[in-house]
Amino acid sequence: MNTDLEEDWDLVLEPKTNLFDLKLKEIWKYRDLLMLLVRRDIVSFYKQTILGPLWFFIQPIFTTIIFVYIFGNLAGISTDGLPSPLFYMVGITAWNYFAECLNKTSTVFRDNAHIFGKVYFPRIVMPISIVISNLMRFGIQVLLVIVVYLYYRLTGVDLSIDFHILLFPLFVILMAMQGLGFGMLVSAMTTKYRDLIFLLTFGIQLLMYATTVIYPLSSLTGKMYFWVSLNPMTYVLEGIRRAVLGSGVFDLYTLSYAAGSSIVILFFGLFVFNKVEKSFVDTI
């Protein structure tokens, strides 16, 4: 065998690979697949339904109505002086995006075991497609928020929007990173230990109460304030409210805490995911 040919290989399969490799080049190669998977998720969601994409609106509307009644009217929880429907709707829409990303990503190995067992493509394409297709859904739901926002604006409620609105896309990206990171972590671990799936279903619900979805961070004091603000999602939600509604805890510290924790979560998830993806077919 010619030694000078050795360098020419297009692909070398080995037991060990770089675990922090994002494989951007490979993902780019499979970009068509990524877009087709996103399309599949969205199209198959409303095929053979009468209301079609309208279903994307129905869930946040009903949840908002229930939250307004229970937390606003019955429990009387503060909404930072904002109209409670608007306050809840922003929180729910954002939280749902995170929760959906986490939920769907966390079962990615199980749901796709059949495909993964038969064909190779960079496994990370699947979770990324989930995050993107949920982003489309999120985008549609944001339209609803805009409608509700305009309604209050026109009825004379004082809602100030300033330059903070420019941070909105950044916070959405941070949410996506956290959902993806946590999801990959859980998905990787569930390939061997199924226990986590049971934990996750009610864990996400509990986590919502530990995040500032139904109450503003400013309504907390002392120890509670400290613990809730440790939650990496808290400052993200606060930041989104600040960007969109003009109220919420936001400064350079909260921004860097949110960004820093998102990066750590994403890379930790990626590390575990890469470790598992090579041979999960043997254990699932």
Partner: protein, 417 residues
């Protein structure tokens, strides 16, 4: 010739048995060994993967120390019994799972077809699924677009192409799926038993397409199948796997011969005691002209099938049927003889059937034998017995060793005109 795939010391271990709470403690132990730079304590227990034998550890080596090279343009048939490691090898080659040790080096784009229709979504239309499935198999959108008409045409489901595939018949589904797969444009193609889809007409089309890919496009193809006839037709090289190791790698006909001969499931001698009731074979074996039992004959030697039959339920319509099968289990010829022609001693008849010399071509064969009352009842039937090997001891064909030149020497003559 340039090398397309090079496999070096490839091994793959699997853990068998249940995964339970034991796994977490084993994982910790493994991790502890690794951080101290020691070998994985559980891999040491590894042993050969022999399914039927009981083993000590719960780790088996599905593949062990494989070394081989495929050149560009080789069409390799991978054969072996169930559990020999064929599918594992394909899985490792197609990156579905990673090797435990060793390396695989690949030159060129590789695409694998371990199944047709992977990732088909029932709610999407045929056309949408062509794109999705193509992309999953590694095609780019523009490649699929360019070949779309051809794919639809090949599948023969044009009328339904904009209908969700959940409304397809299962035949239409696999036709469409195979059509996508058949139009993959990679330099290396890995195929696992996917030809057994659709009806007879489509299977013929599928094999034709595969032959075209294998022979006319200069691509490297790895093909796994239990259908030895298909392997023979498609491939020029054969790789025999046995218990996770390479048993032989070389010319496909020689490989198939060796594989068939090594499977010792075939019975060489039928010998039954008197406890059986009804008409049955009591003794069947092969022998040469001096009545000595054997299973290997040279091509220029006469072959005899010695048969003793017990007939408690004799009637004049009974027949003996005897069929010779080649190694692909395709019939070579059939003999029918009325049993009334033989002289009965008690209720027993004994005779031998002579197959002339220079008739059966070198290769591996087996026999099916049967006592029956035609169109009425089968009394005794034995299939795939009396493994027979014909060895070339200097025929005209000897120089074509390894080529498939059929199963019989034709009794032809050459005349001047």
């Amino acid at each position: 010739m340039s090398i397309a795939i090079k496999v070096e010391n490839l091994s793959k271990a699997y853990q068998i048995g249940e995964f339970s709470t034991g796994t977490i403690s084993q994982d910790l132990e493994r991790w502890w060994a690794k951080t101290r730079g020691k070998e994985d304590p559980f891999l040491k227990l590894g042993e050969e993967n022999i399914r039927s034998e009981k083993g000590e550890g719960n780790i088996v080596w599905s593949l062990k120390n494989l070394n081989f090279e495929f050149n560009k343009g080789d069409v390799v048939g991978i054969i072996g019994k169930n559990g020999a490691g064929k599918s594992t090898l394909l899985k490792v080659l197609s990156q579905v799972t990673s090797p435990t040790t060793g390396k695989i080096k690949i030159k060129g784009r590789i695409a694998s077809l371990l199944e047709v229709g992977t990732g088909f979504h029932p709610e999407l239309t045929g056309r949408e699924n062509i794109f999705l499935n193509g992309a999953i198999l590694g095609m780019q959108k523009h490649e699929i677009k360019r070949q779309l008409d051809e794919i639809i045409n090949f599948s023969g489901v044009e009328r339904y192409i904009d209908t969700p595939v959940k409304r397809y018949s299962s035949g239409m589904y696999v036709r469409l799926a195979f059509a996508v797969a058949a139009h993959l444009e990679s330099e290396i193609l890995i195929v696992d038993e996917v030809l057994a889809v659709g009806d007879a007409e489509f299977q013929k089309k599928a094999i034709g397409k595969m032959q075209n890919i294998a022979h006319n496009t200069g691509r490297t193809v790895l093909f796994v199948s239990h259908n030895l006839a298909a392997v023979q037709q498609l491939c020029n090289l054969g790789l025999i796997l046995k218990n996770g190791q390479v048993d032989m790698f070389g010319n496909v006909s020689l490989a198939i011969d060796r594989y068939v001969n090594s499977s010792n499931d075939l019975i060489h001698l039928i010998e039954r005691n008197d406890e059986m009731v009804g008409n049955h074979f009591q003794l069947v074996f092969l022998c040469d002209s001096s009545n000595s039992r054997k299973n290997e004959f040279s091509h220029d030697e006469e072959l005899y099938v010695m048969i003793r039959i017990v007939l408690p339920d004799y009637n004049e319509y009974l027949e003996l049927s005897l069929r010779l099968d080649d190694r692909n289990k395709l019939p070579v010829f059939t003999i029918h003889e009325p049993l009334s022609a033989f002289e009965r001693i008690g209720n027993c008849i004994e005779f031998k059937i002579k197959i002339p010399a220079n008739f059966m071509a070198p290769g591996s064969y087996s026999w099916d034998i049967c006592i029956n009352h035609p169109n009425f009842k089968v009394y005794d039937l034995m299939e795939d017995i009396l493994q027979t090997t014909i060895i070339d001891t200097g025929s005209k064909f000897a120089i074509y060793n390894g080529q498939n030149y059929g199963t019989v020497f034709a009794p032809y003559s050459v005349e001047t005109v």
